[in-house]
């Protein structure tokens, strides 16, 4: 059973079409990247999934069917920016939001204690939310999203305002949750985080699917016919190489159409070249994003 199934949703506001045709499905226990440039329709898609908006067309299935009031307790949502009451103490705010998710006060307190300590917020629990730094508020918001132990988590820019230590903390937490079987939908512009965490992605632009599938498959699809080589010294000339390009201190060999990477590796070894690193040149997700959006927008 798919945890989330979004099928050909369409949403317009007046004359503006926010979502033209978006479809994807997410399996239990995966981290799924919902990507796209600003204004692509990501937030509208999330709001349709959460039943804040009704789609004009298409269907959404969450946790095995339409979103019901009971299912809301099984979902955690962290909107981009803010989301917490600013004028009340942190602990009170988080306990209240947890109570709305069906958590008993005792259970909520117990869980909150652990999370506050883990996120280094325990000594700030009596401070008003507005008195906390942006990074602290971001962590607090994440706690609010996961405190009730949801099966599905939707997070919009989870790493915003976090320093590298806290980014690592959040990444570890997300991996932990995935191991526990929690499904995570992550919308972010930080592509390197997506590369590290996500199993699959959907890239939407102008309200439509642009790329969709397993991250490795997509990268392979966008891989150029080239290899990256690092050697202790200068590389000898190799037959079948069309172009040699410097690449972050290494060398990128762009191959002719009929040449395979294995041909090049064999030729280098045969010539006794001091090869330290040899890999197929895979594009970064940033490069794929720019290329796909550029092509899609052309």
């Amino acid at each position: 059973m798919q945890t989330v199934e979004v099928s050909h949703i369409v949403k317009s506001f007046g004359t503006t079409q926010a979502v033209a045709d978006v479809s994807f499905s997410i399996e239990r226990g995966e981290i799924f990247g919902l990507l796209g440039p600003n204004g692509a329709g990501k937030t509208t898609t999330i709001r349709i999934m959460l039943d804040i908006f009704k789609p004009d067309q298409g269907t959404v299935s969450i946790l095995g069917g339409p979103l019901t009031e009971d299912k809301k307790e099984r979902i955690g949502y962290m909107p981009e920016e803010r989301g917490l009451y600013q004028d009340i103490p942190l602990e009170r705010c988080l306990l209240y939001l947890a109570s709305l998710k069906g958590l008993s006060p005792a259970e909520a307190r117990q869980r909150l204690k652990g999370y506050l300590e883990r996120f280094d917020l325990a000594q700030h629990k009596n401070k008003k939310v507005k008195e906390l730094s942006k990074g602290m508020q971001q962590k607090a918001q994440l706690i609010s999203t996961i405190l009730h132990g949801p099966e599905l988590i939707i997070v919009d820019e989870p790493f915003a305002a976090l320093d590298p230590i806290n980014v690592q903390l959040v990444k570890d937490l997300m991996r932990e949750l995935r191991i526990q079987g929690t499904t995570i939908i992550m919308s972010t512009h930080q592509m390197h985080q997506v590369e590290e965490l996500c199993d699959r992605i959907v890239l939407i632009n102008k309200g439509r699917n642009l790329l969709y599938g397993a991250l490795n498959d997509i990268r392979r699809r966008y891989a150029s016919h080239a290899v990256v080589v690092r050697a202790d010294g200068e590389l000898p000339p190799v037959a079948g190489v069309a172009e040699v390009v410097p690449h972050n201190g290494d060398v990128k060999l762009v191959l002719r159409e009929e040449t395979t990477p294995q041909d090049v590796l064999r030729a280098l070894v045969a010539q006794g070249a001091p090869v330290e690193r040899f890999e197929i040149a895979m594009p970064t997700l940033d490069e794929i994003f720019i290329r796909a959006v550029g092509e899609g927008g052309a």
Partner: protein
């Protein structure tokens, strides 16, 4: 319902712990205490309870009858306002008593008083205002000594015009008494207090909703509760806060009346009384009025983007609610006129109009019943409308409120969420 209750509890605790709530809660008791305290102090300063003497040369007070107590004077001796009148045989004895401070002053009733009405007052320092009042009552009743004492006392007590409605008509048995006329204005004062409270509470609710939108908290909330549960809970919480204030004020007022009237001898407090039926009627109207206005304010909060815009929009409700105060003279003079009846039946003006009419005369039961029914229906409708406003306005950021949005919301034409808040 459980989630609405959680929201209600949260809103109640949040507001009840705010300094502004505590200030409002204490402001009325403090104000009343201040007014009454000043009154008591002034009365004490003006009055002097030391004995007063008299020398009766005319022989009118040989076998004196005690004067009746005025409404403002307490019955028991030794309490403020009541002085002891001491007879002296000669002016010399009286003067010695004055000089030795046993009395604060003495009156000399001239031998030819019946012809000249001459009475001299002798003092070292001017006596309290209560002294003259009491001495002249004393003189008056003793001039009427040929009459039976109870008749003499009644004559001195003077007139007290009382209008009483027949028992067999709605609101029958009510009185409008000359001496206790302040009681008849209490429903108006209570109505005004309730309306001010209504504005404070519902204004707070509107502010909360605007803040929730600004903070995006609303997006988290609606993924936990339905808009109707949310608005229902918030309105319940606000009503809880308002009731707390009303009950606190009533308890305090009751204490003031009890302590001030019975123990401190403040005359007007002893006669203070409100018809419980009138009070209950007002409370019955206040509750749905609170629900209605709070829900309407919450709707505005959900539709607008900024607190300032929300404040401006509240004029929509404030104007009709205050309208009866502009027409106060008309309603008081003609409580059964079509205008008064119309304002009683119109939900936004019902509470204030009724508080005026109940002060002046009984209001026919059918009008109360019809008005209350309309008010309750409107309150339910307002909560429904607020739920729609939440649904459509909660993710509408950075846009001003347009009239056509309100009309569309009210007529159900707003089939889709309003544009706005599209991020990515």
């Amino acid at each position: 319902m459980h989630r609405s209750w959680l929201v209600a509890q949260y809103e109640y605790k949040r507001l009840a712990s705010q300094k502004s709530f505590i200030l409002v809660l204490l402001s009325v008791p403090l104000l009343i205490s201040l007014i009454i305290g000043l009154g008591v102090v002034m009365e004490r300063l003006e009055n002097n309870d030391a004995p007063v003497g008299y020398v009766d040369k005319a022989g009118l007070l040989a076998d004196p009858i005690a004067a009746p107590q005025r409404a403002s004077a307490p019955d028991s001796p030794g309490v403020p306002g009541l002085v002891t009148l001491l007879p002296f045989q000669t002016e010399e004895e009286a003067r010695q008593a004055l000089e030795s401070r046993r009395i604060q002053a003495y009156y000399v009733v001239a031998e030819d008083y019946l012809k000249t009405n001459r009475v001299d007052l002798v003092y070292i320092e001017p006596p309290g205002e209560n002294v003259n009042r009491q001495f002249w009552d004393f003189m008056q009743i003793n001039r009427l000594s040929e009459l039976p004492p109870e008749i003499a006392r009644r004559a001195v007590a003077g007139s007290n015009l009382t209008v009483r409605w027949p028992e067999d008509m709605p609101g029958g048995g009510r009185e409008f008494s000359q001496r206790t006329f302040i009681n008849n204005f209490l429903p108006m004062i209570a109505g005004l207090a309730l309306i001010i409270l209504l504005f404070i509470s519902s204004g707070y609710l509107m502010q909360v909703v605007v803040e929730e939108k600004e903070n995006r908290t609303i997006e988290i909330l609606v993924t936990s509760v339905t808009p109707n549960q949310l608005i229902g809970g918030k309105v319940l919480g606000i009503i809880g806060v308002a009731l707390t204030q009303v009950v606190a004020w009533i308890v305090f007022l009751a204490l003031v009346v009890f302590i001030g009237g019975d123990y401190l001898g403040v005359g007007f407090l002893r006669n203070l009384w409100v018809d419980p039926r009138t009070l209950l009627t007002l409370v019955a109207f206040a509750l749905p009025s609170y629900v209605m206005i709070a829900a309407l304010m919450a709707s505005v909060g959900a539709l607008v983007s900024e607190a300032q815009e929300a404040q401006q929009t509240t004029g929509l409700f404030a104007l009709p609610i205050w309208a009866p105060y502009w027409l106060l003279a008309l309603i008081i003079e003609y409580p059964d006129s079509p205008v008064s009846i119309g304002l009683t039946l119109f939900p936004l003006t019902a509470l204030s109009t009724l508080s005026f009419r109940l002060a002046m005369a009984p209001v026919p039961t059918w009008q109360i019943a019809l008005s209350l029914t309309l008010l309750i229906l409107c309150a339910v409708g307002a909560v429904w409308l607020a739920g729609r406003a939440f649904r459509f306005g909660m993710v509408r950021y950075g846009q001003g409120l347009r009239w056509r949005d309100l009309v569309a919301l009210g007529t159900g034409q707003l089939a889709r969420p309003l544009p706005g808040g599209q991020h990515g």
